[in-house]
């Protein structure tokens, strides 16, 4: 990691264990990781490697059993439920494999949702304008009043990305964002993420079990049995924009 880069996330000896029935499961067994602002980080690992637990803790959905998690220098590992909720609202944007959009609710309203929970929620008109602007950024086009069932998977994921960005977060946490999408759509979604990272300096943590998806990132961290086993710079980084241009013409999704 180069000197002078601002550290966004600092994780020191992070441990997490659960009790399932009579068995104690050690999901994380002493994790150390530092993430600089503006990084596009890919976390890879087989299922059971602890990457989901890692995401839940970095995303402030869960608390570690021990160890420290510093977000922008502040130790947030001891924060209670409601403080974590407020911090999530301001600093974390989630993108899920299954999109998790509210059914029977327009794309615009889905994007507005996090704004409703911020302490200084803007007025309706300002919310609409902000949501519309973000839907333009992710390239949804004119379908802002469609409900999720009227949108394709790629379009739904674009809406989810817009929703994650609406409160101007520090970190975008993408959990298998292309897991439910075909190859072409996956490339399109990765193109959006790469553009956000490059143009807006957005820090992205991408959780995936596919090695080739991880190659869209700057840095690839591999988890195994709750520990980091490899942490390397991605050498031949893939460029989604170029790949998409090279793909044969298809009906626009």
């Amino acid at each position: 990691m180069a000197d002078g880069e601002r550290l966004l996330v600092q994780i020191v000896d992070l441990k997490k264990s659960y009790v399932v029935g009579d068995v104690t499961v050690h999901a994380l067994r002493g994790l150390d990781l530092e993430i600089a602002k503006g990084t596009f980080l890919a976390v890879v690992g087989a299922s059971g490697s602890g990457k989901s637990t890692f995401m839940n803790i970095v995303g402030l959905l869960d608390r570690p059993t021990s160890g420290r998690y510093l977000l922008e220098g502040e130790d947030v590992s001891g924060f209670d439920r409601d403080r974590r909720a407020q911090l999530r609202n301001r600093k974390i944007g989630f993108v899920f494999q299954s999109f998790n959009l509210l059914p029977r609710t327009s794309a615009l309203e889905n994007v507005e949702l996090p704004m409703l929970y911020s302490p200084d929620a803007p007025a309706a008109a300002a919310r609409h304008a902000r949501a519309q602007a973000l839907l333009d950024v992710v390239g949804l086009g004119p379908r802002t009043h469609h409900t999720p069932s009227q949108l394709s998977g790629g379009q739904q994921q674009r809406v989810a990305i817009a929703r994650a960005l609406v409160n101007d977060p520090e970190i975008l946490l993408a959990d298998e964002p292309t897991g439910n999408l075909d190859t072409r759509t996956s490339v399109e979604i990765m193109e959006v993420l790469q553009r956000l990272n490059r143009d807006q300096g957005l820090t992205i943590i991408l959780i995936t079990h596919e090695h080739d998806i991880a190659e869209y990132a700057h840095r690839e961290v591999t988890f195994r049995d709750g520990r980091v086993v490899s942490d390397r710079k991605v050498e031949s980084r893939r460029d989604a924009a170029l790949e998409r241009a090279a793909l044969p013409e298809e009906a626009v999704t």
Binding site: D82, A85, F94, N100, P103, L116, Y117, S118, A121
Partner: protein
């Protein structure tokens, strides 16, 4: 989250499941409607009794011969069956009890009344010249009889409107002659109408004549059956009744109240029994209606629990994007309360309609008071909070990670 947004989200969720919401509300609608209808029936019955007291005169006290009580080992007849009540008693009461304003001796019976070819059996009430004033009556046409008519037991009569209509369907009865038990009476006047009493009895089906005439010419007695008195004000009714009882015991040399050969009753006392009955009935009906409101509340809780389970992923997502425990709690509570309040509002309208139908269709007296509406509405809201709280807390305490993963 701002209250406006909470309510908006709640309304959106309710509209999204319109049929289910409507069916859930139905329980509250029926509950509130029946509470309103029952309260209005109870208030109506009470108002009818009150009106009757007004008609009879609120200050009126009756002293009747005989007692409802029983002496030890001695069977006694009911009121009116003994001959110990006299005109002297009546005059002593007026003289000595200062809270008594007016007095009239009374004698009554039933008699066959004939005029030309019309024939009618009616009640004949005898009093003195103050009688109709005490009873809160008035002469609609013609004149009341005079003290002289009473003194000489003149055969004169005042007709209730029903009797007047029956005997003289086409002509003015004033000045005409009617035959009561075959004796000729001159009609002096016609009384104003009092209509039916609460039990549907026609209070206009009556003839009023001097009590002396009724005593001597119709009944053949010299004692009094009853004395009717009016107190100087409605506050003085109770003290007057107490003083009259004391005086009567003294005059009749009675030591033990069980030996009373007279009964003192006030109109209010007579009405209070009926008021109590009406109140008991209202309470009974109200509790049945409340049970249906309770069942409606349980319906809301049931649907809210289903809704929380169905929307587990939605709850998880809302938490992920920053909803705090209290935001989720408020959202689901707002939904439950909206269901119960909208149901309550429809229930109020339905309840008002039902009580109107009860009055117009069945002729039952009903009275809608604003307080009944407020109480029913507030009760519905409370039901929403009470039964909405458990599902809402269940939603708010979900673990966001598990909720997001829920299938």
């Amino acid at each position: 989250m701002k209250l406006r947004n909470v309510l908006r989200i709640a309304m959106v969720a309710i509209r999204r499941n319109a049929v289910r919401s409507a069916l859930t509300m139905l329980g509250v609608i029926i509950g509130v409607a029946s509470v309103i209808a029952m309260i209005s029936l109870g208030s109506g019955a009470r108002a009818a009794i009150d009106e009757q007291i007004q008609q009879q005169g609120t200050n009126v006290i009756y002293v009747s011969a005989g007692s409802f009580g029983r002496g030890p080992g001695v069977a006694r007849g009911g009121a009116g069956s003994t001959s110990t009540l006299t005109l002297d008693d009546a005059q002593a009461i007026v003289r000595e009890v200062l809270t008594v304003a007016r007095m009239s001796p009374m004698a009554r019976g039933r008699a066959q009344v004939v005029a030309a070819n019309q024939n009618w059996n009616t009640s004949v009430e005898g009093g003195d010249e103050d009688y109709i004033v005490i009873r809160n009556w008035a002469v609609a046409s013609g004149d009341d009889f005079t003290a002289r008519d009473v003194a000489v037991a003149e055969k004169v009569a005042l007709l209730g409107p029903t009797v007047a209509r029956t005997l003289f369907p086409d002509s003015d009865p004033v000045g005409q002659i009617i035959r009561v038990k075959n004796l000729p009476f001159r009609v002096l006047g016609v009384l104003t109408s009092k209509g039916q009493n609460q039990w549907g009895q026609d209070q206009d089906d009556v003839i009023v004549a001097p009590y002396t005439t009724v005593q001597k010419k119709l009944l053949g007695i010299t004692y009094l059956q009853q004395i009717v008195l009016s107190a100087t004000s409605s506050d003085n009714v109770e003290p007057a009744a107490v003083d009259i009882t004391k005086l009567m015991r003294q005059r009749h040399k009675i030591q033990d109240p069980a030996d009373d050969d007279f009964t003192v009753r006030t109109v209010e006392e007579m009405a209070s029994t009926r008021t109590q009955m009406a109140d008991t009935m209202t309470m009974l009906l109200m509790s049945v209606a409340s049970v249906s409101l309770l069942v409606g509340g349980i319906g809301i809780m049931n649907i809210m629990l289903v809704s929380v389970t169905e929307r587990t992923r939605e709850i998880g997502l809302r938490m992920a994007v920053g909803a705090r425990t209290r935001d989720i709690l408020r959202q689901f509570l707002a939904e439950a309360v909206s269901l119960s309040i909208v149901g309550g509002a429809i229930g109020v309208v339905l309840g008002l309609t039902v009580s109107r139908v009860l009055t117009s269709g069945l002729g039952w007296p009903t009275l809608i008071t604003p307080s009944a509406i407020v109480v029913a509405f507030a009760f519905a809201g409370a039901v929403g909070v009470f039964f909405g709280f458990y599902p809402a807390r269940k939603a708010a305490e979900l673990d966001p990670i598990e909720a997001l993963r829920y299938e």
